[in-house]
Symmetry: C2
Subunit: 137 residues, 2 copies
């Protein structure tokens, strides 16, 4: 096989198996973030453990990033091409309390925080809750 997904996987040194291409396809077409259980439902018959490990692999390779939106299930989203998952790539996430969708606000970087003396920064998770524009209509 030789398509955009295949190439994207290869370029990150991930072996492009059929399963991985399918998962990458779903993640790419997904407008909002998606959880492992939700991902499972996208397939007629797919193993949770395999999907779980696929997501882990993708995350390690910085193909996707994860957000803990407090819903109980970790959410995953495709990283933008320019993303290296460095502090400066971190953006705010938004959880709509109506449609329950969590989306990347990719244009909104997480504000810098001046930590107290002798605290060092590693990363940050910022999730805003409210009503999204779709649900407001």
């Amino acid at each position: 096989m030789n398509n955009e997904f295949d190439n994207k996987l290869k370029s990150r040194n991930i072996k492009p198996t059929a399963m991985r291409e399918l998962v990458l396809k779903v993640l790419t077409e997904q407008m909002t973030t998606i959880s492992l259980p939700e991902l499972e439902q996208k397939f007629d018959r797919a193993d949770k453990a395999t999907l779980y490990r696929t997501l882990k692999t993708f995350e390690e390779s910085k193909l996707i990033h994860s957000v803990d939106d407090g819903s109980g299930a970790m959410k995953y989203a495709i990283c933008q091409d320019s993303c290296h998952c460095n502090p400066e790539d971190l953006h705010v996430h938004f959880l709509c309390t109506k449609c329950k969708q969590t989306s990347c606000l990719s244009e909104i970087p997480v504000p810098e925080i001046n930590l107290p003396d002798n605290f060092s920064f590693e990363s940050v998770n910022m999730v805003v809750k409210g009503i999204c524009s779709n649900c407001k209509k």
Copy 2:
């Protein structure tokens, strides 16, 4: 019984049972946030469901607030007297990746975010990860 905990509970219209006073005592003495499983361990024999419901009661009464620090377990901390859990009372939380303690950075308010058009704000969760000053020594 008639002590500070008792009074605090009464002032929030929470019936001051023995269990609730003990839990409030633990939460008050606790320097960092605490999870339900951790709270359970503070007692020789206490029922998880009771503690769970106690925390829920306290949270509804805004005696405590909860933080999802991504560790898998929700963390709870006493609210400051001045806190009404309004947006302006929200502060940043810090999870130390070394000692695994999550603490309130009560002095650091969560920065305001300019949401995209037609998004409305309800609340926000912001957790910074890094090394705390204690572990830095």
